[in-house]
Amino acid sequence: MELLNVDINHAGYAGNKDVIKNVALSVKTGELVGLIGSNGAGKSTTIKAIMGLLSVMDGKVEFAGESKNYAYIPEQPVLYEGLTLWEHLELAAAAYEIERNVFVPRAEELLKLFRLTEVKHHLPSTFSKGMQQKVMLILGFLLEPSVYVVDEPFMGLDYRGTRDFLAHLNQARSNGAGVLMCTHILDTAEKICSSFVLMDAGTVVARGNLMEIREQCQLPEGCLSECFDKILENN
């Protein structure tokens, strides 16, 4: 079952209207789609277009699934200066109408998982980058959405944080959620993603699972980064 369907003709900003062109992708139940590419390939712009955060957007974005809701975990943590970590969670719960008797145990469990229980009444603006990134992950998982849209989640996360994040993400996938993950760390993407959308110069240059990508670039034993290099050379 498709949870997210994206078909963008072109999108961008007021000064540059065609940052990305002809980008189409879909995310199915239990799937982890890696949106990969070099710096400036248009990955984050694609994510912003999907989230409706761009001033110029010609295309279609459809969220399906039972709840039709999604969680967006941005590359740069965005937090309120004056709210504590717990208040952030309370705000998200109130805005997304999560019952208190559901919210409290779920939030406590996530805080424990990411080892932030002791600082739950502190201001996240005083946290390190990695801790702030964990707050964003907790907020995403708190909503238990049908689609996770994650932009460069490994930036700033330590080994244990990355491991816990991936474990929880896999659990969400086994419960039927789909994930669109934007990253330029190809080694990790190759290990965890079920399929890939390769971007370069603002457009999609290849798509499919690793086998299909290998076929496209005629590297039957190649790793993702080698396939990616070959595809860029051919383009």
């Binding site: 007021a14 705000l91 719960a93 805005a95 997304y96």
Partner: protein
Amino acid sequence: MMTVTGLFFQRIISGWKYQYQVWRTAVDWIVALYIVIPFSAIFIDFYLSWWRAAPGWLDYIPLSALTAIILVFAWSGTVRIFVEDADQLFLLQCKAWISRIIKYSLGYSVIYNLAVTSLLLIILAPFLLLHYGFSFMGVVWLAVFVFVLKSCMGLATQLVELHFKGWIKRIVRTVIFLITGRICKAKRGSFVKWQGSVLSVNVRTLNHFQSALI
């Protein structure tokens, strides 16, 4: 659990706390003791004396000077929308929350503008009543006019910031300033008529403003 109203008031209190801290950095107790308190006392003494008799220097200030004061005062007005960067993420799928925060912000700005306009007119009242021959109702109507004009200017300024950039923004701002100047030059007897048209523009601007932000 947190509510929209609770979140909005939290932001107002946080904004006031910030303003207080900025004020405290400029005015420590020495500045307060030797400058702010003595000057406030002198001003209050002068103000009370203006109610007993209009000061002589007013003879050199024509009524048209009032236009400049009103123009600058109305132009300095702004509408503060208590929407923060993180709302784009936290309330991405909750347009109703954003919409209510904007509505509360507009209400707050209206009350704030009403308070500062009243304060300005209370300060000018002895000059208007004792020297320029305004009636009490004339001062009240002038206060209403200035309040509506100031609110309208605040909304217009925000709309210009949202829709225009660079030199076009400067041209639009200049045109609005000139139109405001024309409104302010209206004679005292025409205030009620102007007020009606400004109010009507204000309502239309308000509707447009909300739809532009949501």
